[in-house]
Structures are given as structure tokens and as C-alpha cells.
Amino acid sequence: MTATAPPSPAAPRPNVQAIGTRRRTTELGLLVLSAITILGAYALASLGRNASLPADILPFLGVILVLLIAAHLAVRRWARCSDALLLPIVALLNGLGFVFIARLDEQLAGLQATWTGVGIAAFIVTLVVVRDVRVLQRYRYTFGLLGVVLLLLPLLPVFGQNINGARIWVAFGPVSFQPGEFAKIALAIFFAGYLVERREILGVATFRVGPFTTPDPRQFAPVLVAWGISLLVVIFQRDLGSALLFFLLFLVTLWVATGRVVYVVIGFLLFGVGAFVSWTQFSHVQDRVSIWLDPWADPSGSGYQVIQAAYALAWGGTSGVGPGLGIVDRIPFDETDFIVAIIGEELGLLGTTAVLVAFLLLAGSGLRIAKGAGATFGTLLAVGLTSLIAFQAFIIMAGVTRLLPLTGVTLPFVSYGGSSLVSNYVLIALLLRISDQSVRRAPDPLAAL
């Protein structure tokens, strides 16, 4: 009997081809629309500021088109069946972020453009190098170690840099970067790769502690060690936003791997204890909390940033004062942590809602990729990577709007920041790879969409 079973990865089946073509056509259409939007925003910001069209609008258009077409062609060539929405949404976020950075500080805009180019190059390289996500699973411990080493790098005496009270920078000659931005991807790979092996064991309670039965704690050891080290490191580097991010990444991956809500409950209890202890122990945590609770206690000092952000958002109203018409240099760090306040001032509630909707759609696409990936490592990795982007956006936007104490992380793709841009483009490339692979490998490709 000849074996002609459904999974025949040798020749792509006809409907796989059709899905790929349709998805890439959709992607191209959406990319054109996002390019037009970015160009319109750029022109309008210049009109508002200088009452004239920007002199470099044609080169600007050229650069956008070259970058987007390069990314699109790379996806067409190396991940043809992947999700069509990630790249256009990312392009819109990155482009709008660039417009506001250019409007605040032209020198930074040049750097941001360079970093966007590097980011897209990293995106393409990731698509070319990582042909099969399961290869990443094989190197899970290497990635775990890499993640921890990257986090430790800024603590080194020579390379480490202390900037704005947080020791999260590393300088090699003229180039400085935040290794933590790359550590998060490495740790996501490690968590997914480790937990996918142990999911069955972790889902079964065998270990008795008094009246409770829990999974054997020894099974957790490597993950807990990696997680504990990363938390300690970022706490000593005073990078609270990253600490929260790693914590949530771990919790979400564990929850999805085992399907047990009890871990989430325990995690939040632990988080409560940890937050309380660090509040009593560390003065910089106390500062953050008191600024959050009452920024008006010191309006021209520690509370200045948060208060100015609130004024900017209020001044923006429903549809904003208009791009280029807001007050420049109102908020310190407006092009990194507080970019959403600038968007709120110039495009109003509708503009900030648009940013939220974009992240919502990004997270939705990521989770859809996770759901479609039949192979469990792909699922866990997609969930981990998606939650990294979604939670990072949540943490900083919640900080700016005073929903949570402010912790400085970048708004992915929107804020100024080279490390953040490049690492997030790598992250998106990995999501596209998972998506492409799950469509190609599924017995019924339509079911994997």
C-alpha cells in the first residue's frame, strides 16, 4: 500500500499556494495604505509646524517605499504563507512614531530612520536564518543562558552605562544598546522550549504540601532559576518595567502550557508579595508609587513629567490640536517613554485610541498565529512573543495615563530607541515564521488560518 498521508511537506499543495498568494496580496494592499497614512501624517506635521510641505518629502517617500517593499519581498520569498496583518500594522506604528519623533527632534529622527533600516535588515535576516522554529527549541538552554548573560552585561564595569538612573545600557565604542531588549526574546524562546517538554508533568499534581497537591517543584527549577535571576538583575538595574514584563511573560507561557489557572493566581499573589517587599525596601520604588498616587505633591520636581503628560492629553481633547501644533519640549523623555502623550496632544483621544487599536490588532493576530500553530512549541513561543509586545505597550501606556506607576519601557515600534526597534522587528519575523510554518504543515491549511 502506498503511503500518501496528509502531511506531505515535499510538494506544497495547491491550496497552500493559493493561501500564500492571497495573503501577500492583502499585505501589499495594506502596506500601501499604511505608507499613504504615514506620508500624510508627515506632510501634515510639517504643515502645522512650518506652514509648508517638508522639503524632503520625496526622499522620505522613497525611504518608506524601499523599506516596506524590501520587507514585503522578503516575506514573499521566505514566509509566503505567513500572516498578512503583522507587517502593515507594524509599519503604521513605526511610521507614525517616526513622524512624531521627527516633529520633536530632527537629529533623533535621522537616527530612528537608520535604526528602522537596521531593524528591517534584522527582520529579513531572521526570516532567512530561522527556517524552522523547532530549531530554536533545540537550543532552548543556550537561549536561556544567552538571555541571562545579556541581562548581566550592563553590570560589567567597563561596558555598562548608567543612564537616567537605570543601569541597562552597554556601550561598545560609539554604539550603545540595551541588551535587555534582546534578552526578552531569548527568554521567551527558553520558556516556550522548556515548558513545552514539561507541560504534561506540570499539568498533573503529584507533590503533596499539607492539604494541597501541586506539581513536583523540581520540574520548575530551571525556569524558576532563569526567571529569578532575570528579576533580580532588572531590579538591581532599577528597570522595573522589564521586571514586570519578564514576570508576565513567564506567567502567560506557563498558563498556556499547562492550562491551569492556579498558576496565574499563585503568580499574582507572589507578585503582590514581591511588589510590597520591594516597596518597603527600595527608595526608587517608593518614589515611583508616591508619584503615581500624588504627582501634585512635587509638581515641578518628581511629578513634573507625569503632570505634563496629563496636561498634554487633556489639551489634546477628542481629536487633538493637530500634528505639529502641540507644545514642544513640554515633557522630558517625550520621544521615548512619553510619545503616547505627544500623540494624545496632537491627535487627541482618537489618535491614542488608534495606537491602542493597532496594538490590539497586533496582539489578536499574534494569538491567532498561536492558535493556528498545531505544534506546541510554536504555540507557546507565539503566545510569549505576542504577550511581550502587548504587555510592553500596556505597561508604558498605563504608566503615562497613571493607571499604573510609571516604569520606563519603550512603546514598541513607536518610541525612539534602536535596541527596541531592532529586537521587535526580530520578534515579528519569528511570529511570521511560526505562522508560515503552521499553514504549510497543517493537514488542512484552511484550518490553520
Binding site: 500500500m1 502506498t2 503511503a3 500518501t4 498521508a5 496528509p6 502531511p7 506531505s8 499543495r13 495547491p14 491550496n15 492583502t26 494592499g29 495594506l30 495604505l33 499604511s34 499613504i36 497614512t37 500624510g40 501624517a41 501634515l44 504643515l47 502645522g48 506652514a51 498578512a84 496583518l85 502593515p88 500594522i89 503604521l92 507614525l96 504534561e200 481629536s319 487633538g320 493637530g322 500634528p323 501644533l325 491627535l347 482618537l350 489618535g351 488608534a354 487599536v357 493597532a358 490588532l361 489578536g364 493576530s365 491567532r368 498545531g374 505544534a375 506546541t376 493537514p443 488542512d444 491549511p445 484552511l446 484550518a447 488560518l449
Partner: protein, 172 residues
Amino acid sequence: MPEQLLTVLKLCLLALVYLFFLRVLRAVWAEVGPLRAAAGQPARPAPGAAVPEPATGGRKGRSGRAARSRSSRRQPSVPSRLVTVEPAARAGTEAALGPELTVGRAAGCSLVFDERFVSQVHCRIFVRDGSVFVEDLGSTNGTWVNGARVVGQMPARLGDRIQVGNVVLEVR
């Protein structure tokens, strides 16, 4: 530059951004919406057919009753056996269909396949009122009947192929 014009342009820009979101949602809808789902169900032959069709061609000379037909043509004989098609190492081995069979990697299953993509207790195949049903038991990689993923309990007819991870069983 008059202020009103700038305001109008600003609103146009915002409209453009939300138009983009609408297009994104429409693209998602085209892939997961009810229209597609409805078209996908009876189209079980269509997407699935690309897979089993060459197999039917290969088995043409063997036996007419194995021809893949849906409820339109009722076969006189009733399903009684499960024949292994894949993996190649176990191809051709048969198992009698009982009131209930469990398929999986665990030693306690009625049909044990120690394969990479098969879960410990992957699915059960049972006969009720003379019809064969397949139910996935929360497996990692899913169970598929003729290329359609098994959700809940799904009937399998004579000649249908049940895919359990990388194992393929044919109902005879």
C-alpha cells in the same frame, strides 16, 4: 495656512488611520468569518480533496468499496476494521473496530503508536448504532478525518481516513 484647513486635514488623517483598521479587520474577516466557515464545511472535499485525491487514484484497482463517497452513496457493508496506512513501518496492520478503541502512546491504549506527534491518550474511536465516531481526547496535534479537524464527536464512514498525529488509519 488657515487653521480650518489644518483641522480638516487632521480629521482626514485620523479617518485614514481608521480606514486602515477597517481594512485589517476585513482581511481577518475574510479568513475567519462565518461565510468562510460555512463554505469550509461542505467544502470538506474541496480543501481536503487535494490531499486524499491522489490516494484514491492509487487505490483505484484495488477495491470499489474503498472509493471515497459521502452520505450520497450508502455502502451495503458496515465498517469493521481499522487499517494502518501510516507510518510506513506499520502499514497494513489491522485492528477490529470494537464498541470503543483508544488510540495513543500510553501502554493502556487499545491501539498503541509510539510516534512523535501522537499524544499519550490521543483520541477514541467508537461504534454507536452501527456508525463509527471519532473523538479527540485533548491531543496536542489534533485528530483529523479526511483532512478536517475533529471537534467534538465526528462520524467516520467507510473508506475515511483518520489521522492521529502522523498516524493514518483507514476505516474498512
